[in-house]
Structures are given as structure tokens and as C-alpha cells.
Symmetry: C2
Subunit: 309 residues, 2 copies
């Protein structure tokens, strides 16, 4: 049986295979996704992000376990920051959620950030679609970091959970600025630590400055002790219900689809530039001249563009 | 006198003006940079990055002050994470390094991340070039976060200083994976805290696994107390000397120039897509169909590409 039908038949190995193909830019994966795209849009897609050390992985584990108790099926796509030079995933699946990996109702995949030209966002979104077609009820997209690329990844979801932690120091002001507008729900993890309530209050105060249709709730949790997890899960569900009932889910999906189309166009254009080895040789020569200040990068870019036309 | 000559004459206000113009994509700024590009390449450009809460701003302040004591002039370009929706810089210059802002030998500029299409990297690199032409001896490019975009920003420098801090928890493994290869020098800040030596040892162990021509040194510092700053500055200088003497500085600059040219080409292609309002309308319509699962994003992207041809 071909991959398309194996996926439709709920074969877990077909999911793994298709995600790998998408990561490796195999056109067959895209071909299958084109055919089955109308079957997406059912799962509740939740983005989980926040600064390093916030305990996002542990929190994701606990949320997955709580959903499993309800009999729900879950997919997890964990985006790991990796070397800009070697590519590939560092945190392998093996070190994550060991006790969950044998559960047939859970599918976990770690993805590396390959290259800097948007490849991760394309592969991540393909993985989410594949899991959605496969038929899981919930999909978590977990990413480390607070940079623009992480924000891009979690933007393309139904609900964004921002995980904060006490003791971020001065950077909390900076962090908050960048995240207040993308967080639908805030969790303050490690809430048994000093300063947890202060952090929660700071977040609430920042939220008070904004006007929201949906006022993001702030939930204290201690993921390690499973404390506050059920309450957090409830809030995630409430957000999804709110999005569906108000029609905002469709609005968000239109916006996300626009970003995705533009990203795909951009990536295709870039691969057009770099695939032709003569063009890459041209760029190499220009780069050398620019490095030695015999040429400037702006004129060099114009020459490459003229060559493309 | 025109801006070009005011910059060459060392007018600080011309620097500020030109950077603003570059941020606003004013073609005149690029025109001037093209003319004066051969005057760049003199300053020691140092990227400073690391996770939130590591105290990068304080550390940068202290390094700037140490250099000022030596009579060196310094430029600082601080890249702040900002809302993906509103754009603009959050941490204004006003909250940074107040006592330095009156020093005529220091130029400080905070830059927001505008949009997600690489605009920040173009504007940041333009700011660095402007400061280089202006004639400062050192340029610090400081960025918050550990995401790919932050890595991209600090990659285009002579020396990358990675600021770590005790107590990053589990994420230190993840962080390390992403940063080991881009850090030329590691600082463990807040070294008076518990676990500082352990963090330093963990970094040293990770470094031991790699083979470097230049073995990155690990320096304990307490930026707030000015402890370890002179030693760290010495290491930054040693790295630059090593890069010059071995010819690696030119190799790195060729690589960086290549990345910059490709980024510029990519940005130009994207603005070609989005500038024509008819094309954006087309994308809007496609996005709506995709959101309602009447169309798939891959075919939509192909249609946009066909329209471009």
C-alpha cells in the first residue's frame, strides 16, 4: 500500500516516514500533502514557547499525559535549536518523554533547524499537517527560544502557550515586550520558587496595558509536581472554544495561511538562486570581492538579481 | 554639507540620521553605503549573545567603559526582540547605559526587529557599516535570545562573545548544542552565584568534544561588580589578533559577505512580491481559500511564483 493510504489508514510508521521526507524536501511528501490538505484543520494546534530554562519540555509532557487520561490522542513536534553549521536535531526523541514513546496514542517528533533559510518552518508545518491528517486530537509545537524564528513557528497555531519562569531578571521587561502579543495563555512554571507570584503579577500588569478581545489568563504551575496542569489544560480548551465561537479561528488561519504561502514562495525563490551551481560560484566570487572591500554587498546583490532575470 | 560628507567629517548626528534612514529602507542610505563601503573593515566587530537573563546589557556597558578608559571609541548596536505585529524598538536607548550616552566617544543605538522578513539583519548590518565608516575602534552588536535570527545577526561579526549564566537548568544542554560552534569566547556572568563553576565546567567539557583551531576560552565574570571584565576584554583582543594573524578574519569575512549578499537578494525578491498590491491581493485571496481548506498552501505558492514569472 502506498504512503498516502497508509497515512489515511492510521499507520504510525507512515507518519514518521512522511515527516522525514518533508524534512529532506522530498517532493513526494508535498505531493501527498497537497492531495490530503482538505483533511487538515481538525486538530487543536497549540504552540508552546518561552525562554530557555522555563521547563517547556516537562510541561508539555504533563499536558500530554493529562490529555491521554481523557483518551485523547496527541502529536508533539519539538523544534530544537541546532548548530547553524551542521544542521540536524540535537535533542533526539530518545531523550524526550521516554515513558510516552511506547504509548500508541502519542506521536513525538524532534526536528532540527536546518540552515537559516526558513527550512525549519516549512518542515514543522508539514509535520503538523501530517499529524492532523493522521488524526490526532491535539498537536503541540514546542520551541526553545524567544527569537523571531521561534515566534514565527508558534504564530502558525490555534493557541499559543507562553511559558515563563521566576527569576528572569532584567530581561523580563524585554521578553514581555516581545511576547505579550503572541501569548494566548501564560503559564508561570516552577511556581514553587521564590518570585513566582511576582512574575505572575508583572505579567498581569503588562497585560492590563493592552486591550484584548480575549484577555490571556496567567496560570501558576509546577510541572514537575503536576500542579496546575489540569487548570492549564482547561484554559487551553477554553481558548480554542472562544476562537471557534467568535470566528477568530478562521481569521487567524487566514493570516497564518498568508504567512505560510509567502514563506513557501520565498523558500522556492531562494532554492532557485542556490540550486544552479553557476550562480553560487558567481556569489562566491562576489563575496570574496566584498570581503576585500573591492566591491560592496548592495551592488553585488543587484548583480545576482540581474542574473536571475 | 551632505550626509556623506558629514559622516566622513565625524558628525555624530549624521550617524544617527543614516541609521534611521537605513531602518526605514531609504535608498539614499544604501547609496551612501555603496560609495563608502571601501572605508569599512577597520573596526573590531564583536557580537554579544546568550539567553535572556544572562546580563548581556550590563556586560556590554562594562566592556564599553573599559575600552573608554583606554581611549578607544565604541559603537553599540543593540537588537531588541519586539512584537511581531507592531514592530519598533521596545527597549529604547533611554533605558540603556545612561551614563555613557553623554560620552562623545560612544555611540549607542537600539534597533527593533521590524517584520519577519530579514529586515533587522539588513538594518543591523547597515548600522555596523555606518559606525565603521564613522571610525569607531570597536563595535558591539548585542542581541537577546538564542534563536536562529539572533545567531544570524551575530554570525556576521569578527568575534562572537557568548554570555552564559548559572541556573539555566535542563535547557543548558539544548543551548550548548546551538551555540558551541558560534561562540569564540564564553563568559559565565553572575559568577558569584551558585553553580557558576559548574556551568563553566560544563561549557569546557562541551568544548573538549570539538576540535578547534582556536579553543574558545571560558571567562567567569560578575559584570555588576566589574569583576573579570579586563580579562574578558583581553581575550576579545587576543581573538581578533589570532584571526588577523592566521588569515581567518578574511576567510570569515568572505563567508559573512556571502550570507549578506544572499540575504539582500532574498529581501529584494520578497519586496518584489509584496510591493505590487495586486500580488498581495492575490495572496490574500489564496490565503482565504487555504484557511477554508478549499486550496492547499503548496499549490497557492506555485501560483504566486507563476505570477511572478
Amino acid at each position: 500500500m502506498d504512503l498516502l493510504n497508509r497515512l489515511l489508514n492510521g499507520e504510525k510508521r507512515a507518519v514518521a516516514r512522511l515527516i522525514s521526507m518533508a524534512e529532506n524536501h522530498d517532493p513526494e511528501a508535498i505531493h501527498i500533502l497537497k492531495k490530503l490538505y482538505s483533511k487538515t484543520g481538525r486538530a487543536h494546534i497549540i504552540g508552546i514557547t518561552g525562554p530557555p530554562g522555563a521547563g517547556k519540555s516537562t510541561l508539555t509532557d504533563k499536558l500530554v499525559k493529562a490529555l491521554r487520561k481523557e483518551g485523547k490522542t496527541v502529536g508533539v513536534v519539538a523544534v530544537d535549536p541546532t548548530s547553524p553549521f551542521t544542521g540536524g536535531s540535537i535533542l533526539g526523541d530518545r531523550v524526550r518523554m521516554n515513558d510516552l514513546s511506547l504509548d500508541s496514542g502519542v506521536f513525538i517528533r524532534s526536528m532540527g533547524t536546518r540552515g537559516h533559510l526558513g527550512g525549519i518552518s516549512k518542515a514543522t508545518q508539514a509535520a503538523v499537517k501530517i499529524l492532523d491528517i493522521y488524526g490526532v486530537d491535539y498537536i503541540f509545537v514546542e520551541t526553545v527560544g524567544v527569537g523571531q524564528s521561534e515566534v514565527d513557528i508558534v504564530k502558525n497555531v490555534d493557541t499559543t502557550l507562553m511559558v515563563m519562569v521566576p527569576g528572569l531578571g532584567d530581561d523580563i521587561q524585554t521578553l514581555k515586550a516581545g511576547i505579550m502579543e503572541i501569548g494566548d495563555i501564560f503559564a508561570v512554571n516552577k511556581a514553587d520558587r521564590d518570585g513566582a507570584k511576582k512574575t505572575a503579577t508583572q505579567i498581569e500588569m503588562m497585560l492590563d496595558f493592552n486591550h484584548f478581545e480575549w484577555r490571556p489568563p496567567v496560570q501558576l504551575v509546577v510541572a514537575l509536581d503536576n500542579s496546575g496542569i489540569d487548570e492549564l489544560l482547561q484554559k487551553l480548551k477554553e481558548h480554542r472554544n472562544y476562537m471557534v465561537e467568535t470566528g477568530n479561528l478562521h481569521k487567524r488561519r487566514i493570516k497564518n495561511s498568508k504567512i505560510e504561502i509567502i514563506d513557501l514562495v520565498q523558500q522556492e525563490l531562494m532554492s532557485m538562486i542556490l540550486d544552479k551551481s553557476t550562480k553560487e560560484q558567481m556569489i562566491d566570487k562576489l563575496a570574496e570581492k566584498v570581503a576585500f572591500r573591492e566591491h560592496d554587498p548592495y551592488s553585488a546583490a543587484e548583480e545576482v538579481l540581474n542574473e536571475l532575470r
